[in-house]
Structures are given as structure tokens and as C-alpha cells.
Amino acid sequence: MSNILEVQNVSKNFGSFTALNKVSISVPKGSIYGLLGPNGAGKTTLIRIVNQITMPDSGQVFLDGTPLSGVHIKDIGYLPEERGLYKSMKVGEQALYLAQLKGLSHKEAKARLKYWFERLEIGDWWNKKIQELSKGMAQKIQFVVTVLHQPKLLIFDEPFSGFDPINANLIKDEILKLREDGATVIFSTHRMESVEELCDDIALIHKSNKILDGKLVDIKRQYKTNTYEVGILAQNKENLEQELSKKFQTSTASFKTLGDELKLNIKLTDVEKPNDLLGYLCNQGQVSHFVELIPSVNEIFIQTVKNH
């Protein structure tokens, strides 16, 4: 699979401050790519470089195999974190203006806007001024403007902030639909649950350096601890717990069950197989719960950042 975006050894300094230090990422075509990192890590600088708002001091960026240049402006749709619209301009005029800046003709822009406004049921906002709309409403318009020119690459910086759950869901569905239609999405956010839900690939940037990247599944596999969450109904809970702690590395777990089970996290060594553990447990009592603990993005994030 080819990569739509290749960032190679990009560095950027602001005076004596290093915002990015030889960062490389590869974004596969058709993926949803999560760009993660604590505040001030350098995500926004990287995104601005991809958008040609700032130029890198060194390193190269390729979009669809060619070095980034002015012709790529129309191929990228960008929804910045710090976003807004002209307050005293009418919604329709403004959307038309922004679409034309992205290279659409007036006629084409108008037709597409009509389609989107109907689809999101915001058609009657056309002649309103932005200052008459709520923040969420303005965000919707901003979203439409971002995707209108059907870019190959969409970059969303905290796309869900400011939306109520219903609209956030609506936007999420639209993002998924855009991906189905062939767009690639880069997604910068602090909301780990949306990363968990949407992203295929992630990169983690911390203190100007990329410290982790790859397929989310691979990363999770790499970070898994071979730990299983176990719930078992036994006659004598204390005896069983002692016995288990002799054989395995255990710790207490807490999860919701219906009965009075013994709840443990059991960590296996590399040679032990989960089937052996399950077989052993089946002989001890009624097993109601047996789940492999998969590290969440949140845990991976916190762990990696702390280790650096």
C-alpha cells in the first residue's frame, strides 16, 4: 500500500526553541491516522508544515509521491484547532469565498455547498451572519468548508471540540464516509476514545521528537503484557487465590459481575499459554470471566510519554 503523505526528517526551530526534531511519519493512503502528543509537543507545527503555512528548516515532505508545493493546496483540507469565520460576513458568501480560495470555481462551489447544506440540514443559514449562529453551528459550516473541495488529504485538529454529542457523532460518521470515498484523514486530538474508535495508525510526538508510530494493532500487540482478567466462582475463594498466586503472577482486579466471583489479573510468562491457564481454572470452579487485557491508547500514551 502506498503512502499519501511522507514526512522525512523534518526539523523546525523557532529561535533557540526546537519545535520539531527530525520527525518522519508515513501516512498510508485511505487510513485514518492519529497524531498524538501532549500539549506543546509539536503537532500543530508539523500540521502547519504539511499545510505549507510554515516552512521546515530541513527535511522533506512528499504528498502522493511529489515534493510538497503550491499545487497541493487544493489537495489538502485543513480544520485547525484555532478556527473561526468572519463574524460579520454571511454564511453563504463566506463559504463561497473560502471554497474559491481552494481553487473551486464559483459555480462549482455553489452547487457543492447546496448539496452539503441540504445534507446537514443547514440550508436556511445561508443568509445569516456568523455572529448570529452558535459555536456548534459555526463549527458545522467550518467542517463543510474543509471538505468541500474534496481533498485527498484531510487534516482535523481537535475536530470534535465544541460539538454536542449528537453533532460530534454526525461529524464522526461524515469522516468515516469521507474515508470510504477514498480520502485519507489525519486526526490530531487529545480524546483517546475517539482515537481508539477511529484510527488505524498513530504517531506519538513528545517534546519535538516522534517517539512511537505504526499500525494501532501492532502497537497494541507490542505493548500487551500477557495479562488476563479472570472471574471465577469457587467454594473457597481465599484458598484458590493463594494457590493461584503461587503458580502465577497475580494482582486483584475490579470489574462488575453478577455473582460473588474471585476477581484477579493474572500475568503469564512468555512460555505459558492462555489455554493452559483457562484449562487450569476450569478445574477450580465456574469461570465467568476470561479476557485478555489489551492496553488502551490512553495507557500507551501515558506510559510512553512517562518513559521519555
Partner: protein
């Protein structure tokens, strides 16, 4: 992709469609005209006041010069003591009492003249009285020495020097006045234009920052394009406004002076008064002819071309600075510290224009300042009607253009970095750091 026309169009339309812009465009000339009318009316009213001044001349030598005029009646008191005279003046509520103490010695008379009044008298009245008495006593002194006053009057002459350049072009005082008028108008127009529309550009940059749309925009266009589009669009809106002002103002002035019969030229600026001062002494018929002639003599082609070039150059130079200031700050209150160093040379230019160019259009100070780029547009525009050698104009213009290019580069740097900076107000040190980013 070149989006400049699109940006210019948007900037222009949003400015022109803006409600406060429309209101200002229509209301300002009306306000100005109303103000002028009121001032003219009031000054007429002020002059209309009738005054009575009582004269108690104990010498009996001077009193015959006080002949009642339009607004002032002189009331000669005779055979009265000073105390009674004062009492009388107070009772009749006259403006004041002029008292000349009795003496045979003319020097002693002029040393003992007093004016008594309720309030402190107006300067013009005192000056008027003084000049009358001066002249009378002068004549008396001359007569004492046996000089015939009639002979002196007869020998008075009024010289009017006819001016001609070496090329044989005839000029006159009126000529200078007309030149001065053209120069000042051009310089002042540029000054006003920079202040009004420079501010507008600055505000529009700040608006894009505060509404946070800037990042969306510059992901599509280069900051330089956005900045130039803003400057050009706003300037076009400004020119539109100016033209509308000219039309409305002209029409209103015409109507007002016809309907109310008020001579609006009575509300004079000091400048106009000075021009008229220079016009005195010459004969009215000649004046009109002279104005026409001197208009004819003005280097019109040079004037118009130079006006356009210096106006555009100067305006763009300052407006790019305004744009940079807008980009550097978050809100209008923070602009003060940066505006001051921009406004200083501009104000300096106008003062130099009005004081030194009038004094001597080719003096050292005016010449030097017509080369310094930040002041040259205003000062040079004021000098040009007086005939500036072409090489000076070209050099000054080249200096202006190169400074303009440098300023736009500098402003674009600050603009590029500044528009994405939020939060704190930058210091000058930081601004210099931005240039290196």
C-alpha cells in the same frame, strides 16, 4: 494559484457593505458641512455685536480720529472728571472707557493712556485703538516739526514686484499661493488617507486574528498575497469613499451657500487667512486673471504623475507598516506602542511641509526631508508645485520605492509570524526575532 483578485474583491466588498462604513460615508460630509455652516454663522454673529466705547480725551488732540464704525460706536465725553466718566460708562453699560491724561507733551500723552472696562477687553479692539492713536500722535509729532502731512500722504507708494523666471515665465505672488494650495492639499490628502485607511487595514488584520479565521485562510493563500490583497482592497474602498465625499460635500456646500446665503469661506483656516494676506495689496481684477494664469503655469503633467507615484508609494509604505502592527498584536488597545513610531515621521512630515516649505520650498530642511523616505511623500508633494528638478524627484522616488520594498518584506515577515501568535503582546525584541524565523 493567484488569489489576489479574489482577496481584493472580498476586502473591498466587506468594507463597502459594512454598515458603519456606509453611515460614515454619508454622514461625514454632512457633519463637516453642518460644522462649517455653524462656525461661519457663529463668527458672523460674533462680529455683529454692537459696542460702544467712551473716549475721555483730556488733551483734546486725539479724539477726532475716533469715528464710529460698523460695529463700534465711539462716544466722546467732554468736560468730565475721570470718576464721573467711569460712573457714566458703567451705568450706560458701554464696553469700556479710553482715558487720555491731559498734557502738552506728546510723549507724555502716549505714556498715560488707559482703558477701563468691566471684563478684560478683546485683543483686536485694543490693537485697533492703539493703531489709531499711534498714527495720530505720529502725525502730530511730524506737524510739530513742521512737516506737511498731506505731502507725506501723497508720497506714499504701493510697490508690486513682478516676478519672472530666467526662462521668461512670468510669476506672481498669487502664483506662489496657488502652488502652496496645490502642494498643501496633496500633502494633507495623503496624510489623511494614510491615517484613516491605514487604521482600517490594521483593524481588518486584527479582526482576522481575533476571529481565528487566519489559519484557515493562510492554508490556502500566501500571507504576502493576503496582506497585499487587504491593502489594495481597503485602498479601493477608501478611494470610493473619498469620491463619494467629494460629490456629497460639493453638492451640500453649494446648496447650503445658496439656501442660507452664508458665505462659508468666512470659516477660514489659518492657512487660508495667510493666503488671503498674501493676496491683499493686489487689485481684484488682476487676481482672478493671475489665478487663472498661475494655474496655467503649474507643471500639471509633472504634478499629476508625481502625485500618483508619491501618493501610491507613500500610502503603500505606511499601510504595510499598519498591516504588520495589526499582525503583531491581538487587539486594538495593544497597538499604541507600535503606532507611535509610525505616526511620528508622518506628523513630522506634515509640520515640515506646512512650516518650512511655505517659508522656502527649496531650503535645506525641506530638500532633505523630501528625500527621507518616510517623510518624502508628503514633503515632496508639497514642494513639487514650486518646481523641483527632475533628478531630485527621481532620486526621492527611487529611495521611496526601495524603502517600500524593504518595508513590505519586513512587514510580511512580521505578518507571517504574527498572525499565528496569540496571547502576549510582543516586544520590539521579539519582533526582530520573528524576522529570523
Amino acid at each position: 494559484m493567484n488569489h489576489l483578485p479574489l482577496i481584493i474583491k472580498r476586502e473591498y466588498l466587506t468594507k463597502v457593505k459594512n454598515k458603519s462604513f456606509i453611515v460614515m460615508t454619508i454622514l461625514s460630509p454632512i457633519l463637516v458641512i453642518v460644522l462649517i455652516t455653524v462656525v461661519a454663522y457663529l463668527s458672523q454673529l460674533n462680529n455683529d455685536k454692537q459696542r460702544t466705547i467712551c473716549i475721555l480725551d483730556e488733551t483734546g488732540l486725539v479724539q477726532d480720529v475716533f469715528k464710529s464704525e460698523d460695529n463700534t460706536t465711539y462716544n466722546i465725553l467732554e468736560n468730565m472728571s475721570l470718576v464721573d466718566a467711569k460712573e457714566l460708562v458703567r451705568q450706560t453699560e458701554a464696553y469700556g472707557l479710553l482715558h487720555l491724561q491731559g498734557s502738552d507733551n506728546l510723549d507724555s500723552i502716549s505714556a498715560h493712556i488707559k482703558f477701563y472696562s468691566e471684563e478684560s477687553p478683546s485683543l483686536t479692539i485694543i490693537a485697533n485703538l492703539e493703531s489709531k492713536i499711534d498714527k495720530k500722535i505720529e502725525n502730530l509729532k511730524l506737524q510739530e516739526k513742521g512737516v506737511d502731512i498731506a505731502m507725506i500722504e501723497a508720497s506714499k507708494t504701493n510697490v508690486n514686484i513682478n516676478q519672472e523666471s530666467f526662462d521668461g515665465e512670468k510669476t506672481s505672488k498669487i502664483d506662489s499661493v496657488v502652488k502652496l494650495f496645490f502642494g498643501s492639499a496633496a500633502g494633507y490628502l495623503l496624510f489623511m488617507f494614510i491615517i484613516i485607511y491605514g487604521n482600517m487595514i490594521m483593524r481588518s488584520v486584527i479582526e482576522e486574528k481575533t476571529s481565528r479565521i487566519i489559519e484557515v485562510i493562510i492554508s490556502s493563500v500566501k500571507p504576502m498575497q493576503l496582506m497585499l490583497g487587504k491593502i489594495i482592497g481597503t485602498s479601493l474602498a477608501g478611494i470610493t469613499q473619498f469620491i463619494i465625499w467629494l460629490f456629497i460635500g460639493g453638492a451640500l456646500l453649494f446648496t447650503v451657500s445658496i439656501v442660507f446665503g452664508i458665505d462659508t469661506s468666512q470659516a477660514q483656516s489659518p492657512n487660508q487667512q495667510m493666503i488671503e494676506g498674501a493676496m491683499q495689496n493686489s487689485n481684484i481684477n488682476m487676481q482672478i486673471q493671475d489665478v487663472y494664469n498661475s494655474l496655467h503655469h503649474l507643471p500639471m503633467t509633472n504634478l499629476i504623475i508625481a502625485f500618483l507615484l508619491f501618493f501610491i508609494g507613500g500610502y503603500l509604505l505606511y499601510s504595510s507598516l499598519y498591516a504588520a502592527i495589526g499582525a503583531a498584536v491581538d487587539n486594538e488597545t495593544d497597538t499604541q506602542q507600535f503606532l507611535l513610531p509610525v505616526l511620528m515621521p508622518l506628523i513630522l512630515a506634515v509640520y515640515i511641509g506646512f512650516f518650512t516649505v511655505i517659508e522656502d520650498p527649496h531650503g535645506t530642511v525641506s530638500t532633505v526631508f523630501s528625500f527621507i523616505p518616510l517623510t518624502s511623500p508628503v514633503v515632496m508633494l508639497m514642494r513639487i508645485p514650486f518646481g523641483v528638478p527632475l533628478w531630485q524627484q527621481v532620486v526621492s522616488l527611487l529611495l521611496l520605492i526601495s524603502t517600500f520594498i524593504f518595508t513590505v518584506w519586513f512587514a510580511a515577515k512580521i505578518y507571517r509570524v504574527g498572525i499565528l501568535m496569540y496571547g502576549k503582546k510582543p516586544s520590539y525584541k521579539e519582533l526582530i526575532k520573528w524576522i529570523k524565523y
